[in-house]
């Protein structure tokens, strides 16, 4: 398969939260259509990387650069990144009282469409868009009339993230520990939905602690993040190796380097 164009180029990225430097020089290149997995022990900086790429204001970028689709990512506000196709499936999706899932998702879709000069969708048009996407995650309309994530189980919240991903059709999707808290059936449904969304014009960065999600979504590249740096990259087989050997041997390697 011919390699796609470079979509995301991270160079020497350093970032801190609450004064603590978490990312200490991350390099990463993702091309159109690729699926990358980032694995690593707790506290290695996986989620920080996801949040920094999406632009969470609590994270301070201290150095390095990120080019996304030919633009300097750090020049863009979070909403501008979203409108340019950066999507983060949150590890802990927030609840929004009094706003239905349907209204929220339509507003988001319309904000993105508007930024591209496309017509906004009215509720009826939106229902049509929604129909097939709901099916893919095994939901019916009832979930759309509930307030966003309020009273949702952990698994329902994660499915909701994937539904949003499916509807918003981003160019670059980051999945932050989407597998945590999912039972095996939910995991399969989510993985299936993600696999359906794989496309030559869409790249994924899947952040996960465990290898099990990767049994269902086969990544093109697996990276190991330890102590704020990518210490090893490889093919899908690397994930299995990690599952067998744990992270310690790599952490030691990181300390030495």
């Amino acid at each position: 398969m011919a390699k796609g164009k470079v979509l995301l180029e991270v160079k020497g990225l350093r970032a801190a939260v609450a004064g603590n430097e978490i990312l200490k020089g991350v390099d990463l290149t993702i091309r159109d259509g690729e699926v990358h997995a980032i694995m690593g022990p707790n506290g290695s900086g996986k989620s920080t990387l996801a949040q920094v790429l999406a632009g969470h204001p609590a994270y301070e970028v201290r150095g390095g650069s990120v080019q996304y689709a030919g633009k300097d990512l750090f020049e863009l506000d979070p909403e501008e990144r979203a409108r340019d196709g950066v999507f983060l499936a949150f590890q802990y999706p927030v609840e929004i009282r009094g706003i239905t899932n349907s209204y929220f998702l339509r507003s988001a879709l319309n904000a993105i469409r508007k930024s591209k000069g496309e017509a906004e969708l009215d509720p009826l048009d939106f229902l049509q868009v929604l129909e097939s996407k709901l099916k893919a995650i095994g939901w019916d309309d009832a979930m759309m009339n509930r307030p966003v994530n309020e009273g949702f189980s952990g698994g329902e919240k994660k499915r909701n993230e994937i539904l949003q991903l499916a509807v918003l059709e981003p160019r670059f999707a980051i999945l932050d520990e989407t597998d945590s808290g999912l039972d095996i059936d939910a995991l399969k449904t989510v993985a299936q939905a993600v696999n359906q969304l794989r496309a030559p014009e869409r790249a994924f960065l899947i952040v996960t602690h465990y290898q099990r999600l990767l049994n269902y979504i086969t990544p093109d590249v697996v990276h190991v993040l330890a102590d704020g740096r990518i210490v090893k990259s490889g093919g899908p087989e690397l994930a299995h190796e990690l599952e067998a050997k744990g992270y310690d041997w790599l952490r030691d390697a990181a300390m030495v380097s």
Binding site: A54, G55, H56, P57, A58, D77, P78, E79, R81, A82, R83, F87, L88, F90, Y92, P93, V94, I96, R97, G98, I99, F104, S107, A108, L109, A111, I112, S115, P147, Q164, L168
Partner: protein
């Protein structure tokens, strides 16, 4: 600055001053001033006597300082108690309204000209101390509905006014109610006859324009047996460095099976970021469910005023009567609000519902204060109260003082309360989905207020949503 509170607040959009020739009575309060007001309004003697009695009571009372608000002393002798545009129309001929007044109300979104009137809404427009126009009066009269400035009603329907004025909020009820009873100028009077469902929304818009004045409006609404009326009031004032006093009294009476729905969108000038200027909004509102199966429902959206002090309440006298209070109160900058309700259950099987949403941003202080009182005879009374507070930023405050006084053991009381904070994570989540930070805040706040907004008449729900958006715009980054 980073994150929340990084932005600057939008300026108040209704802060303009109308340059109009006005007659302003010199500052100061004494019996002569009250006589002057009464004469200007062409009032009968009983009205003047009532005012004077209220004034003499007021002299013996002292300003309440139990509310959870702080402000400097008010000099009641420095306020002018009557201000009116010089060119006033004759009654019932709107054509003669000064174009400047027409333009003023149009700018406020309240067209009073014949051809531009809001459909489905009859409006009484009050400018400083006088009503300048009341639309659809003739149309309403066909149904027997009386809707007119209270000063006109005192002359034309003296019997009704005399019978009910002060029966729900007695002239000596509290310091501000007594002051109002002495010096009230204009406001609306509504009477809906037996069995009539008022065909239009009734609405009064209060505009303070003159400086160094106070506005003391008085509204009286009577819903006779089996009738139904929905009434809405709105208000605004120019931006000034001085504080201006607004002390209103509203009385509602609902007879057997009658329903009164009273909605308020309060947008008085809130003062600037440093708390300079702004209206002191000290208001007494109370409704009496006098008849069986009657219902009074208060809905308020309070975004303006430097200080708000109001507790729209219901006296549930008739058996099976229902009282409701739905409130959204927003305090931003240095605004302070101490607001809530009083539900007094007297009749059997009376029910009350309280839903209060307090939103504090900037250095705003928001207090919910509510009293639910179940009297001995109120067999089977029920109350449900829900008080939710939302904080935006870390320099604001939310306080809740629910008082419960139950004297009948059959009562069922429920109280729920919550406090939440709009945080960076919530805003970030919405921005990550492509929404601007303003839209994100607006969505979160509107969701929080949804239970109250759905109680507003359709025509005004949109306005309320928009107003809330404006008053919080920029308070979150």
């Amino acid at each position: 600055m980073t994150g929340i509170e990084a932005h600057v607040q939008q300026p108040y959009k209704y802060g303009f001053v109308t340059d109009i020739e006005s007659e302003v009575v010199p500052a100061g309060l004494n019996e002569d001033v009250i006589r002057l007001i009464s004469t200007k309004k062409g009032e009968p003697d009983w009205m003047l006597d009532w005012r004077l009695k209220a004034y003499r009571n007021w002299l013996k009372m002292s300003e309440p300082h139990w509310p959870n608000v702080k402000y400097g002393p008010i000099d009641y002798q420095a306020i002018s108690y009557y201000a009116a545009p010089k060119k006033l129309p004759k009654l019932d001929s709107l054509d003669q309204v000064d174009p400047k007044l027409v333009a003023t109300f149009e700018k406020l979104g309240i067209p009073i000209e014949e051809q531009k009137r809001l459909t489905g809404v009859a409006v009484d427009a009050v400018f400083d101390s006088v009503s300048v126009a009341t639309t659809f009066q003739a149309e309403l009269a066909k149904y027997g509905v009386i809707f007119m400035p209270i000063s006109q009603a005192i002359r034309e329907h003296a019997g009704l006014v005399q019978e009910y004025l002060g029966t729900v909020v007695p002239a000596n009820d509290n310091f501000f109610a007594a002051l109002n009873s002495a010096v009230f100028t204009d406001g609306s009077f509504v009477y809906v006859p037996k069995g009539v469902r008022c065909p239009l929304e009734l609405s009064t818009y209060f505009r303070i324009n003159a400086s160094s004045t106070g506005q003391f409006e008085r509204t009286l609404i009577i819903a006779d047996e089996g009738s139904h009326v929905s009434y809405l009031e709105g208000c605004s004032a120019p931006m000034r460095d001085e504080h201006q006093l607004h002390a209103a009294v509203v009385e509602l009476v609902a007879f057997d099976r009658a329903t009164i729905k009273y909605s308020t969108i309060q947008n008085w000038y809130p003062g600037d970021e440093e708390g300079r200027g702004g209206i002191y909004n000290f208001v007494t509102k109370r409704g009496k469910c006098a008849g069986v199966n009657s219902k009074i429902s208060w809905t308020q959206v309070e975004t303006g005023s430097a200080i708000t002090w109001k507790y729209p309440g219901c006296i549930l006298q008739g058996d099976n009567s229902i009282g409701e209070f739905y409130s959204v109160a927003v305090t931003s900058h240095k605004q302070q609000a101490d607001t809530g309700t009083k539900m007094i259950h007297l009749g059997k099987n009376t029910r009350s519902t309280i839903v209060s949403k307090g939103i504090s941003a900037g250095r705003g202080q928001n207090t919910y204060r509510g009293l639910v009182k179940i009297m001995k005879g109120a067999e089977g009374a029920r109350n449900y109260s829900q008080c939710d507070s939302m904080l935006i930023g870390d320099k604001c405050g939310a306080h809740t003082f629910p008082y419960i006084d139950v004297r009948n053991s059959t009562a069922i009381m429920e109280h729920e309360a919550s406090t939440s904070k709009i945080g960076e994570d919530q805003i970030f989540y919405l921005r990550q989905r492509g929404l601007s930070s303003e839209d994100a805040v607006s969505m979160i706040v509107n969701g929080f207020c949804k239970e109250v907004f759905k109680e507003l008449p359709m025509e005004f729900a949109v306005e309320a949503t928009r107003l809330l958006g404006i008053s919080l715009e920029g308070s979150v980054g």
